[in-house]
Amino acid sequence: MITPIKLTVNGKACVLHTEDPNMPLLYALRDELGLHGLHFGCGLGQCGACTVHYDGVALRSCIMPISAVAGGAIVTLEGLGTPEAPHPLQRAFVDEQAAQCGYCINGMIMQAAALLATTKNPTENQVRQALAANLCKCGTHVRILRAIMRAAAQMSEQPSAHA
């Protein structure tokens, strides 16, 4: 039986049709809505490559049944900012050249954005702890930390830019 599930994705209302309400959100976003910023990394909630925001909170879309987020507001990397209107984190990641293969970077940005939304001016140690469960195998951590600290500093100087 096909169950319609209503969601707001990147500000737009949409209805997803799934025959399995237990299907993780990741497949709806990637395969039905064509949002490729988030990636399948482990399917176990261990690596963070699939992170999205659900009502403002960082969520691992690879293990979250779509029925469990019905009615919620989802924001993906594409909805966080665009090249024309980047989120300060996206601008900082470009400025710091904070990617190698880039497969994990969605999770790094989305997790950091959730942190910066609640914690202004975090210490580097707070950032390290907040991203402790986001895995990168290229070893880009040094740059990712720099980019997040840069964005945090910029956001505290111009708090209105991305509330």
């Binding site: 993780p24 990637r30 176990l44 665009t82 497969y103 195998k137 880009t140």
Partner: protein, 739 residues
């Protein structure tokens, strides 16, 4: 012969811009034959690498591919510089067997050193040919002309001609001239500058097309049902229960290869865990706890002396001390953050595979052999995957996708799940090293002998074949032995008497393949740890003992710069830390493969005496890879080498039962995480007039030994077995107390 004809036709319009759309177009749009023109893929032809369209836009056809290392940007800098065109005017097509020359796999830190050099020569030839043509059209001698931004003008000023005008839509038809005049590095405007990476913005904004994101019309989704044990055979299977799943299509079984196919991805995933499969019991792996005994007693293909100075058996014995030590390193998985993925389409006897393989041309040969069709009927098109750091599951996954596509006759996307990648990528092999040294009364090293036990060189027999061919029992094509004859092992020092013997093992516990700095990381761990042990036993400063045995000027300069950069204090003035948190520092040095990039690091560590936890606080790197193409890209690579290798040194270790790999996810195969990432400080030594060497691996090779040496400096405990997990560290600390 129609096949030849098709393979030689590149289906290109003269416009470089259209090429890009073609690469991502579905195969059905290919046959726009009227608009097509021929393109050579010969690496001996300028036209193999370079095309310039009527608008002056340049297309580079590169056999080397972007694996997340910045190579795409760097080679684009090289061609833009040597051709004298704006950086932004160049579009690069990568790793497409129909379009790009075979420049060999993208591995071994050769992309800039070899691949970039080929492209540079092609660009220099093209620029010279354009100058010749401009000279005759303008009536001005060549040496009185200048090239800039795709324009040739007289140096004295006046009207010039653009490359587009000179070419008038024609392709380059001349051979690459190995002695075409190269630009003077002093005139470089693009090479040597920190150009921002081409791929990063799209990756940051979710607009990048990884192979995982690529779709074809009518594409189905597949998942593998890999054997329950590494060598198990499929006895029976039944997919009745799968038929209830929405969109389930079929199972594919060929020998021991079993896969499920569905119209949607989620059903394919569910079907893979729903299908019933019975596998034979198989217990062909050694006990993990006996791994190094297994290696020591494993059948040897042959013993080979890889490096020899003087004669170790002639060294004087009387009054000498002997030091010996054994080191070991575990199996590693590549651990790509995205599991391997490929899209394949088999139509009318032709196979097209979109693949993240680092070796699309080799893969093409291997797939043709497996499917018993001519290579001309196989096209491999590179699309970036997650970082691979060597031969991860990409080629194996591609082979399975190809076989499934052939069996079902429809385009199919196969993505491995996490357990497939952790369980079935070919492994970085375990390695064992023995060392013996003889020290005379003046504390001189009079003999140095080492033995390394590792799989038959990488990896002639096992890991470089295709998994689908193994499982389905189809013909295999392993890469020939060529190019693997010199693994570059040995010490970078001059000793009176020294010898390194490799014992090439026939059997490895699991299929083996290369992971970043293969065998070189292991060899350098042994070399630089053992030298540090000798330094300690003879009360010589670790920098001093290295400098004493170096004659290489660039090596000496690098060590001196590192010593100052890290503010190194001689060990004698740096008493061992007696605190509960013991601090120490260690140095390690390598000349990569003994012939190229120089790298040295100093690692600062903290050892928790209570828990046995080792933390790397800071790493200082001095790095000389000759001419630097992109200093920021280089730093990014070096930082990645450092952090990834700390992970391999402190944390990573594959686990297995007698039947199969048991470290199948990030819980059982943990890697280094943010709280444990060190500061990394880098001193780049740029030599603009030297040839550029590779930087993808060298720094990796020195990390484990620098950490081991730092732990010794802090505590007196000598760590000889990687990874340095707390239990091993506690055991080593216990030995110090016992003494």
């Amino acid at each position: 012969m129609p096949d030849k004809e098709v393979s030689r036709r590149a289906f290109l319009k003269a416009s470089g811009g259209l090429v890009v759309t073609f690469v991502f177009a579905s195969p059905s749009t290919r046959c726009d034959a009227a608009a097509l023109t021929e393109k050579t893929v010969s690496p001996d032809e300028v036209g193999g690498f370079i095309a310039i369209d009527a608008n002056g836009l340049v297309t580079l056809y590169s056999g080397k591919v972007e694996l997340g290392t910045g190579v795409l940007t760097a080679i684009t800098q090289i061609i833009a510089e040597e051709l004298s065109v704006p950086f932004a005017s160049v579009t690069t097509i990568q790793g497409d067997t129909l379009l790009t020359p075979n420049q060999g796999p993208t591995y071994a830190s050769f992309s800039i050193q070899n691949g970039g050099a080929q492209i540079r020569r092609a660009a220099a030839t093209a620029r010279d040919a354009l100058l010749t043509r401009a000279s005759s059209k303008l009536g001005v001698a060549k040496d009185l002309l200048r090239t800039d931004d795709g324009l040739i003008t007289p140096k004295s000023g006046g009207k010039g001609l653009s490359y587009a005008q000179l070419l008038a839509g024609q392709t380059f038809t001349m051979k690459v001239n190995p002695s075409a005049p190269l630009k003077d590095p002093r005139d470089y405007k693009i090479v040597g500058t920190p150009v921002a990476r081409l791929d990063i913005p799209d990756k940051i904004f979710g607009k990048f097309t990884y192979v995982h994101d690529f779709k074809l019309p009518g594409m189905l989704h597949a998942r593998m049902v890999h054997p329950a044990a590494a060598g198990a055979s499929l006895e029976a299977w039944n997919d009745d229960a799968c038929r209830k799943l929405p969109g389930y299509v079929q199972a594919v079984r060929k020998g021991d290869l079993l896969a499920v196919v569905a119209s949607n991805e989620w059903t394919a995933i569910r079907a893979a865990s729903t299908i019933a499969a019975t596998w034979t019991a198989w217990q062909g792996l050694p006990e993990q706890s006996q791994l190094f005994e297994y290696l020591r007693s494993s059948k040897v293909d042959r013993n080979e002396v890889l490096q020899s100075m003087g004669n170790t058996s002639d060294a004087p014995k009387a009054g000498n001390r002997t030091l010996q030590a054994t080191y070991d390193l575990p199996l590693n998985t590549h651990g790509s953050i995205g599991p391997s993925c490929a899209v394949a389409d088999f139509k009318e006897g032709r196979l097209t595979v979109w693949t993240p393989s680092q070796a699309s041309h080799l893969l093409r040969e291997q797939l043709a052999t497996m499917l018993q069709i001519p290579p001309e009927r196989v096209r491999c098109i590179y699309l970036e995957g997650a970082g691979c750091y060597g031969r991860n599951g990409a080629d194996d996954c591609s082979s399975e996708a190809a076989l499934i596509a052939k069996e079902i006759g429809q385009p199919v996307r196969l993505q491995w799940m996490r357990a497939d990648e952790h369980g079935w990528d070919p492994k970085g092999p375990a390695t064992l090293l023995d060392y013996r040294a003889s020290i005379d009364e003046q504390n001189r090293i009079v003999a140095w002998e080492s033995d390394i036990f590792l799989p038959e060189r990488p990896m002639r027999r096992s890991g470089a074949t295709l998994l689908a061919a193994t499982l389905a029992k189809l013909p295999k094509f392993g890469p020939p032995n060529a190019n693997l004859s010199n693994p570059g092992l040995g010490i970078p020092y001059v000793l009176t008497n020294s010898k390194l013997t490799a014992h090439w093992l026939l059997d490895t516990p699991l299929p083996a393949a290369w992971i970043r700095a293969p065998a070189r990381l292991q060899n350098t761990f042994g070399n630089e740890s053992f030298l540090d042990e000798i330094a300690a036993a003879t009360s010589i400063d670790p920098f001093e003992i290295r400098i004493r045995h170096l004659t290489d000027k660039r090596g000496l300069e690098l060590l001196e710069r590192l010593r100052q950069f890290a503010k190194w204090q001689p060990r004698a003035q740096h008493p061992r830390d007696a605190g509960a948190l013991a601090h120490g520092r260690g140095v390690s040095y390598a000349k990569y493969e003994l012939v190229r990039t120089y790298v040295g690091i100093v690692a600062d560590v903290t050892v928790n005496r209570t828990t046995g936890a080792v933390k790397v606080d800071r790493v200082f790197v001095a790095h000389d890879c000759g001419q630097i193409i992109n200093p920021d890209g280089l730093r990014n690579q070096i930082e990645g080498n450092v952090v990834q290798s700390i992970s391999r040194t402190l944390v990573e270790e594959l686990t297995f039962s007698r039947s199969a790999v048991t470290s199948l996810n990030w819980g059982s195969y943990p890697i280094l995480t943010f709280p444990d990432v060190p500061e990394v400080a880098i001193d780049l030594i740029d030599r603009p007039t030297e040839v550029p060497w590779g930087a993808g691996e060298p720094t990796t090779s020195v990390v484990p030994s620098a950490i081991a040496n730092a732990v010794f400096d802090a505590t007196g405990a000598r760590l000889r077995s990687v990874p340095f997990r707390p239990a091993k560290v506690q055991a080593a600390l216990g030995l110090v107390k016992a003494v």
